[in-house]
Assembly symmetry: C2
Homo-oligomer: 143 residues x 2
């Protein structure tokens, strides 16, 4: 039953379910993030800002695996929403320091329910979720 083109079948790919799952899971966040008036990418950026308060664009990009081409407009949007401020560093004017505002910190409490709500939409067993977490981190290290 095997033919030479089997390796090109969608069902034999590892990348495709990764790509599709990521999209579908991110979509699950939408109704809950809509309540906070932010997108998924803005949400993960805020996660880093909530934890660290202040951070360069470059460093933020290293956390999120995103470059300035994505982050510059995204951070301008977050600034417009009043969630962060953007200012050049005094020590090194090349660096742009992003700081979370009081309003940004206030959003953290509203966001607290999001992970729970999303988990409620995804009926993956705890053991599978843990195993997946481990494997994804392993994969992340070798790409």
């Amino acid at each position: 039953m095997a033919d030479k083109y089997d390796s090109l079948k969608l069902e034999n790919q590892l990348c495709f379910p990764l790509y599709a799952c990521a999209k579908e899971v991110v979509k699950k966040y939408k109704p809950f993030l809509d309540e906070l008036d932010i997108t998924y990418t803005q949400y993960i950026a805020m996660m880093v800002m909530w934890e660290h308060t202040k951070m360069n664009v470059k460093e933020l990009g290293e956390y999120l695996f995103l470059d300035s081409g994505t982050l510059t407009p995204l951070l301008k949007t977050l600034e417009k929403k009043g969630l962060v401020t953007r200012a050049r560093s005094k020590e090194d004017e090349r660096n742009l320091v992003v700081s979370v505002t009081d309003e940004g910190m206030a959003l953290r409490d509203k966001a607290l329910e999001v992970p729970k709500k999303v988990a409620g939409c995804i009926q993956l067993e705890e053991a599978d979720a843990k195993e997946l977490y481990v494997l994804l981190h392993k994969l992340m290290k070798c790409v």
Copy 2:
């Protein structure tokens, strides 16, 4: 050490490594797909077309988890490249039938090396890859 905001830390998310891994792995395809002059999304669309030869936009979208908003421009691009043709169905004019061309089929042989080359860039053990494959399909079913 635990605090009430732990659930909002990037490191405690399952979705984030999924999102980041998907992006990083898709990026690995780029140099090899550049040789075929197609993008990753175009590649997975061609995978379905290579296997099925003819297909409605709707059905193709069900395979790829993409809607007409994404597929319409993508298929127009593939048509411009000469890899597929697009034509309304005679039986039901609402349906647009996508068909792979000879040139499209010829690309299949050039693509044959892609999965191997990408696998060569990702040093994940075979057992882990298999386990990840199973878990992603399990996750796909419950989102």
